[in-house]
């Protein structure tokens, strides 16, 4: 998964390495480091913003290691979802209760609806919408798609899916190859 952290380190030589080393030790992949020194600051510390990919189960350990190195974590934002698939839906989306459709997918627990953009057509014309499913695994997306197909059948909606893996966007640097 991808996370971004804001860290506070003391403003002295070797401190930045202290913050980065535990990440690489734990197999994390650093995406970006923003390291700014505020000339007006008198606190003797500086803020570092780091975006990285790391396995979920190693996050707690990373926090521990950073604490041990006297690096304080100001903030952690977690972007859980690494895999996205966008599909287009056509049909009477409003009349067939779009919020129910979204809830049913979210209730699978394997993926959730991340974005939904809908175009309102003329009265009685079918509505078109783009739905982005997000999950932390390909399996999760596959399960959500099975549910979505069930719903589409029941509500008489047309799902337009991407060709093979085209709709999957991997936000992570993990070596996931979609070999379908």
């Amino acid at each position: 998964m991808q996370i971004s952290m804001k860290l506070e380190v003391t403003d002295s030589p070797g401190q930045l390495v202290k913050a980065l080393k535990p990440i690489s030790d734990l197999g994390g992949n650093i995406r970006s480091v923003i390291h700014e020194r505020d000339p007006l600051s008198t606190s003797g510390t500086l803020d570092v913003e780091i975006t990285l990919d790391i396995q979920r189960q190693k996050l707690e350990q990373l926090k521990e290691e950073l604490k041990k190195s006297d690096v304080s974590i100001v903030r952690i934002d977690e972007e859980r979802y690494l895999i996205r698939k966008s599909v287009i839906l056509i049909g009477h989306l409003i009349h067939t209760d779009m919020s129910d459709t979204v809830e049913q997918i979210d209730a699978t627990g394997s993926a959730e609806v991340g974005e939904l953009s809908m175009i309102m057509p003329a009265i009685n014309e079918p509505t078109s919408a783009k739905m982005i499913l997000k999950s932390d695994s390909i399996q999760g997306i596959t399960e959500a798609m099975i549910k979505l197909r069930e719903i589409a059948k029941e509500k008489n909606l047309l799902i337009v899916e991407p060709l093979e893996g085209e709709g999957f966007n991997f936000d992570s640097g993990d070596n996931i190859t979609w070999t379908d």
């Binding site: 966008s86 599909v87 175009i119 078109s128 337009v160 899916e161 085209e166």
Partner: protein
Amino acid sequence: MDRLKIAILGFGSVGKGLAKIIADKNLGIIITAIADSKSGIIDNKGLNVAKVLLAKKKTGLCGDTSITPQKIIETAEYDVLVEVTPTNAATGQPALDYIKAALSRGKNVVTSNKGPIALEFKSLQKMADENNCLLKYEATVCGAIPIIHALQHGLAGNKIKKIYGVFNGTCNYILTRMSDEKLTYKQALLEARELGYAESDPTYDIKGIDAAIKLVILANTVLGFDKTLDDVEITGIDNMSSDAIGLALEDGKTIRLIGEIDAERETLSVAPRILPKNHILVVKDTLNAVTARTDLAGDVTLIGKGAGSFETASAIISDLLYIKENHGGRN
């Protein structure tokens, strides 16, 4: 074999196109018999094609109303029966009976007719083998594109994992116009009709049935499956909206009707799919495009015209010349 003698059943756009090419090009092929739906003509020394074409133009008949296709099959002198009558996807008739009659007479058959090949390929091939003759059907799938030859011979030795692409020119035209010119589905369909790309009853194309039949043919002939139209999961483009295409375009994508054979799962499907606009299968207008995913050659994509009189005739002639080279003198 000096000159290959052929009998043509069906004298519509494809049959006439074929006859013109054979008359114009020195291919070593002569036509000894022609039948349309109401008449027929036989000359075992070779017909004067220009004369037959003129008669057809003037009278609507190619020959004598007493000469039926059955009579040609059973009495004319020919090496190959070229069966190019209209497709009946439900029964394959009357083409199916014509092909069987020719094979049982020990005659090679070349057809552009999807019905018989989709419905009864196995039994027809068995019949051809038993009678020591060849059955060829390149023109049944994607017109001018030599897809069957490429898969059976060009990629021989490869394991084919998937075959997928654009198999229907009418749908591709409609979706191209909706995507490029922002036409509504109805406008694009109307335009396709005016240009003669869509039949007055376009159901067969827009519901994805035509593409599905082509998948069945490829699955059975190239992959050795035993599929029928009922085995194909089909979604057509008749419910496509210009809004949906607009949503795809916002992301640099578009929508095309894609037929797909997953050879490993043995599944066949036809459905509109989202593809990046610069994807190799996003071809314009009535073009067809097919990718074969293989273990050795990787992805191989063929693009070309999927329909049309000369384009379909091109596939038929390639089958005829294959028979001429590989089956010479056997009949």
